[in-house]
Assembly symmetry: C2
Homo-oligomer: 389 residues x 2
């Protein structure tokens, strides 16, 4: 039996076959597909005590249809990433009950009681004290565990080989790390930032720096990444009175530069800040880069004594963390820019009645983060960029 595309009506039998659901008289299924790429179904019992999510990768981009084919084996990357994260941060991802590699289908925890972080932020919520710290900690644990510090050399090489992800990496290489700086049909922008789009395309300094970040993305096999760690890949909420943070959708996972994960999160935090500023609703937005970095650094340093390769000493750790910091700033800049003048924009800005001011500020901050990343050696210097922009 080969790959088959699951429809809503197929889910009960599918879950039963796979051993995830016994009572087929008590199951209701609805499709809740939301992201660009995949289909998601929720199955639940009538009394709501039992529920599961079923996520299937289609052989195309869901929102585009069969005219944009995409290998469904991206679900392998997602399952592999969940497997690695589960070893070190099981509470920060949905519980995975099973992966069916034949049908590229994950059966997972139902998170419909939680909310997507971006959605909450767009509705005016603050981040709260936990979210960014949990993200930073997750990145530290995943990146340490899958680096040459946390994983024996031979196991690492096997992980690198198993985790290559040509098709999805190519999307990032193109959509994030080159197209916004070129004439490309994917690009579009609000007319109020057209002058900046033109000037960025003509900006030789910016392009060389982006080229360096792009080449590092292609060659810097530091750690397994989430690969798409924006605020739409984070769910938050409360269960039994305790804050819950769940990172999901790691289908862009591969072994790359750690700064790419931190940078994407920072970029989205910075854009959320500009939205809040534009609406006069700024709360704790300005503090999220610091909170996530400090949690990342603290956790990475906490794990360091357990490294498997002690040739890397404390002095090298300091140097390595500085490098991750600098690279994170660069990737943050590229993510900000591509989200405003590239292919896929952020609702943080597009839903503003007048997005121009916030978009312009974000673009200029993004450029500074890229071209001045080596001078911006601490959180305060980044905040200074935001202040003077």
């Amino acid at each position: 039996m080969g790959y088959r595309i699951l429809e809503t009506d197929d889910i009960p039998a599918y879950l039963s076959e796979r051993g995830h659901w016994e009572d087929l008289d008590d199951i209701a299924v609805r499709e809740v597909s939301d992201g660009n790429m995949n289909r998601v179904f929720l199955a639940s019992s009538a009394d709501g005590t039992r529920s599961l999510a079923v996520k299937q990768a289609l052989p195309w981009v869901r929102v585009a249809g069969p005219s944009w084919p995409m290998n469904p084996n991206r679900a392998d990357a997602e399952a592999r990433a969940y497997e690695q994260i589960a070893k070190v941060a099981p509470d920060e991802i949905p519980a995975v009950h099973g992966y069916d590699s034949e049908n590229y289908t994950l059966v997972m925890e139902d998170m419909s009681d939680l909310e997507v972080l971006r959605t909450l932020l767009n509705e005016g919520a603050s981040y709260g004290p936990h979210t960014s710290a949990r993200i930073g900690e997750l990145v530290a644990r995943l990146s340490f565990a899958t680096s040459d510090f946390g994983m024996p050399s031979a196991e690492r090489k096997a992980l690198i080989a198993a985790s290559v992800s040509p098709e999805l990496c190519k999307i990032t290489e193109d959509v994030v790390l080159s197209e916004p700086y070129l004439e490309h049909e994917h690009n579009h922008w609000h007319e109020g930032v057209a002058d900046l789009a033109v000037s960025f395309r003509a900006d030789a300094e910016l392009r060389t720096e982006v080229a360096e970040l792009r080449h590092l993305f292609m060659t810097g096999a530091q750690s397994l990444l989430h690969g798409d760690l924006h605020t739409g890949s984070v769910m938050v909420g409360t269960r039994d009175g305790a804050p819950v943070v769940r990172v999901f959708d790691p289908e862009f996972s591969f072994v790359g530069p750690i700064g790419f994960d931190l940078g994407l999160y920072w970029a989205n935090a910075l854009v959320s800040e500009e939205r809040a500023r534009a609406l006069g609703g700024l709360t704790d937005h300005a503090d999220q880069l610091r909170l996530s970095w400090e949690a990342f650094e603290t956790e990475f340093r906490r794990l360091w004594p357990a490294r498997v390769d002690t040739f890397f000493d404390d002095a090298y750790l300091d140097r390595f963390l500085r490098k991750v910091w600098t690279e994170s700033l660069g990737y943050a800049g590229t993510e900000v820019i591509r989200r405003i003048i590239g292919f896929a924009h952020l609702t943080d800005l597009t839903t503003l009645e007048d997005p121009v001011g916030a978009s312009r500020r974000a673009l200029l901050i993004g450029r500074e983060l890229i071209v001045r990343r080596r001078e911006l050696t601490d959180v305060e210097s980044v905040r200074a960029v935001v202040r003077v922009t």
Copy 2:
């Protein structure tokens, strides 16, 4: 039929079975194993008009025997490297007539009319005008073709996955890039450099820089490398009046930092220079780093317009080549040091009646190349280090 270890008497039937030799009444075989790792046989016809080399990887290190097991699949890496190099520099490697992955055996051109470069140098020969330039050109062609500049992104990812080489990389990570800076049973040295061995082990600055080079070796998936490009991996000679240069033994091949190949060659050139200086026979030794670098840079720039990814512009090329230069100097330093106070020493020095002066100079030069590599921005500044040491 599984893997079988070939003995001299097996070679005629083996070559016949594999379709490399027809007349079994006219074949003579002798074993000529020379390197540390593998067995090599030469088969030839009585009149000498036909000859082949047969190289087999054993499931252990040849010179150590079964007590040091080593996966014979290192021959896969060698065959893969030859296959890639053959596409871009077929004249700089032996012709490969076939690879038998079941028996980890390569059937190749007989190069017994050529000489190992190190052997010639040790006997007092000069490099001559061709050798280092051909090496630089080969590294440029191989590294360009297998970089993200010369190879489409998806093909590159497949190459990275296919080329991981945990066991042999680990040898380099240990023997070249950490043990010489630690107390380790592998290490040994001439008593005349014992003070330097002690001081290098206590040298925090040196260790941090080596750690950075080591981490780059483990994570910097820039291009397919030869992986062991010292003067013992190069054969030279003359055929039909023309100079011949053949690089061989690429079993340490993997996708890593380009500077590792250049650096190994430079280190061996620098050590050969110290030998020649000690013997008062200095000829063109001092010019080999320049010749190989200039040939590398010229060829890389010549290939650049044919890059598959034009987002990388000329300004990025300049930056990338500077980075390769700097990294090459660092790796050159590590190779010099490990060859004097590490596990495997160089006959260039060990065959000197009094190796102390040359060894001390080489060690000090090696350290400078590592810790000052970012300041040594051109060939002249490297020569200045050699002069003042």
